[in-house]
Symmetry: C2
Subunit: 437 residues, 2 copies
């Protein structure tokens, strides 16, 4: 019986060119995270299933890869990096506050695969634990936006809302709080199923026509915070809860402006819900106009989640960059830096013959130790074939040590683009190649 | 019911200091892999269970985390990175040969946790696909050794053997080839259970006293290749299969010497087996004298594994650095570079008051955009507390923008070690901090 050679659906292999692009993007993101003072933390892929379940919402829970291990424990692959962070904070009470951490790692969701949606995908998370104010939210949102700017993504927009504003609208409509999550879950599908779809789902969930009409009356189209926030103030500001949420969003927008975020990057979107149950304050998503691929970044404040583990109120706020979608966008828009498709080693040491092998090995070893990435023609064969193969793979320089060169104490350095060959001593060849790279 | 806050047994959280050390080690390993011309490839954590099973040996198969997913598929978490590579090669027949790839990623094994043995651990693999000769083996072994040298590991030794030599001994003893795997599995435990333990297990597996005595007669103690290889030649060299294996080891040792590997790093060890079933040629492990933690590197040639997937013979050879054990050794020997325990951001922007907040935000945003890692005192509070907290965390420089400084168009840059404060313009402060870092 033949062994399957394909990956599981929704999971992917990363071959050299794309894997290098992926590593480059991660290094840019990591640098921006560290520039903002976020510290790395890593956690296991597997957690007790109980750790994961009951945090994300009824539909999300079904997507957790959960199973019983050989020791009879109920375990699951992490669904995101936020719940593991909450567990870490609870299990390490000595961590200093504010605790600012980043974590770049794969997560797994048994979703129906589609464009920009995978069953294994990598999240790049930053979170601040222990600070209740909008400065913490702004620190996170500034940093994820700095990543996108640094990666050269044009035309992205942050859609911003606050769960407390949605809750104030629900309260204003006289809807009991225990029905709010159902309403949020329906509204969360607005981008996918449109207003009519959301209305239908709300009817199904038992909301009355008056409630639904009332809801959509408050959900004005998204736009510039300086326009939308005052408008929300006029329609809802009489309520203390709504006024507090609107003021909080105002402070967040103002802090972001202070940090140098261009105001045209920000929109307040009263319809934004974010699927996960654990948010309690500001929420946001970052989208690009092209390609239509869903949100690249999501985040918000979740002041109650960590308390589930610690038993004490612990304010927290965080955002996650979706690495896979960012890669998709960078590839679709042709934003990848040059050179990702060529070989990692721009130099190849050829092997002329069995008699000259020792020289080739010595030179390759020395170049590598000198920090010059140098492949070795381990497959052997005729020199002309080694050079042809190197040219095909995009090698920039080949080094040749034939009997004549060895007798003269020289190496030939061949420019694989021009075909020009220069005889240099081993030391000079190393100097030359280092200068070229 | 309280949620569990601990990790699963044998799995660990990496908090900031250790996570930074881990990232630094990975970056050193990655650089050495790329210097030798190995290209990055990544694969999913989950594979079809059928892909994984039947490749490692009967006991190893039991350690695979396998389960049925919601779609009824039998799946498993990868047990190593070699079998996924074999699948990748089969599913991408257009990959050029030789195909040299590296892969740094976690693997999972449901082993009994003990010192240096975890259920989730990270392997750093390099493999060469498509080249049968010893130069490919040498290219791999040189590169993993270069990593250990670059990380500053003292006193490591490569133990080298060849499965074909073990098979020649088995044949010389008149043991049928189908009994060889059982013999190898018992012998593989030599380090753990000693000669007496292996003898007992071989008896249990049905080997006769004469067979066992004969076996140990050929298994001379390990030592310098220039001594051990001729000795093996004297006792076994009359057999063609043994002579070929001894000659192959000789060519590998010679190629490593050519690449500049010191000969005292290499020992030929006729008792070395390596647990996995798929090896067919040279095999090796790298150990350190202190601490006693098992092997840091394992590898060898496996010319038949990829053919299981491709249906065509495909020579391959590779080695894996065990990241977790390397970290354990670096920590135990105090080899970690300085500065891993301090904060990632050496600079903190303080917040004097609500009135000066806008200046603090602007300066923090500008420093970050200029590439200077700068934390922001988002928790607020009195300036003296912000400074005390920064000092406690090891922040090197604090920047202060109080009303007086703002009026003079200056910032105070405070040296957190000496306590000295210097008034500088924002531009000069940026220049100064950049120069310090």
């Amino acid at each position: 019986m033949a062994n399957p050679v394909q990956t599981l659906q929704g999971m992917r292999d990363w071959l050299p060119g794309r894997s290098r692009l992926r590593a480059w993007i991660i290094s840019r993101i990591r640098e921006n995270f560290e520039r903002s003072g976020f510290e790395p933390v890593e956690t296991p892929a597997l957690e007790y299933a109980e750790t994961l379940k009951g945090k994300y919402g009824e539909e999300a829970d079904k997507l957790i890869y959960a199973f019983t291990d050989r020791g009879g424990r109920e375990v699951g692959l992490r669904y995101d990096l936020t719940v593991p962070l909450a567990r870490v904070v609870a299990s390490h009470p000595d961590l200093s506050r504010p605790f600012k951490r980043y974590h770049i790692a794969p997560v797994w969701r048994a979703e129906r695969p589609q464009r920009g949606r995978y069953r294994e995908f990598t999240q790049c998370d930053i979170d601040v634990v222990g600070v209740p104010g909008e400065l913490a939210d702004a620190d996170v949102l500034f940093t994820v936006m700095a990543c996108l700017v640094d990666l050269g993504l044009p035309g992205f927009v942050v859609r911003l809302n606050d769960r407390r504003l949605l809750q104030a609208i629900v309260a204003r409509l006289g809807i009991a709080p225990n029905r709010a999550l159902g309403l949020f879950r329906a509204l969360d599908k607005l981008d996918k199923i449109g207003t009519a779809g959301v209305r239908a789902e709300l009817m199904e969930r038992g909301f009355s026509g008056a409630e639904i009409d009332g809801l959509f009356g408050f959900l004005i189209p998204r736009g510039d915070p300086s326009i939308i926030l005052p408008e929300l103030g006029r329609t809802l500001g009489g309520r203390e809860d709504a006024a507090a949420a609107i003021a909080s969003l105002g402070r967040l927008v103002s802090a972001l402006a202070g940090l140098g975020i261009a105001s045209d990057r920000l929109q307040v979107d009263p319809t934004l819900v974010r699927g996960l149950d654990y948010y309690t304050g500001c929420i946001y998503e970052v989208t690009v106009v092209e390609p239509a691929i869903g949100s690249l970044v999501g985040g918000g404040r979740y002041d109650d989640l960590i308390g589930i583990f610690t038993g004490r109120p612990t304010p927290a706020t965080g955002g996650a960059l979706g690495l896979d979608r960012i890669i998709d966008v960078i590839e679709a828009l042709g934003l990848a830096p040059a050179g990702m498709q060529g070989p990692v080693a721009p130099v190849q040491m050829t092997i002329f013959s069995e008699e000259t092998l020792a020289t080739s090995l010595r030179v390759a070893g020395n170049l590598r130790r000198a920090g010059i990435a140098c492949d070795l023609a381990i497959a052997g064969g005729r020199l002309s074939n080694q050079l042809r193969d190197a040219a095909r793979r995009g090698v920039r320089w080949s080094v040749i040590a034939g009997p004549d060169e060895i007798e003269q104490g020289k190496l030939l350095v061949r420019d694989m683009v021009s075909g020009e060959q220069t005889a240099l001593s081993e030391a000079d060849a190393g100097e030359f190649l280092r200068g070229q790279l």
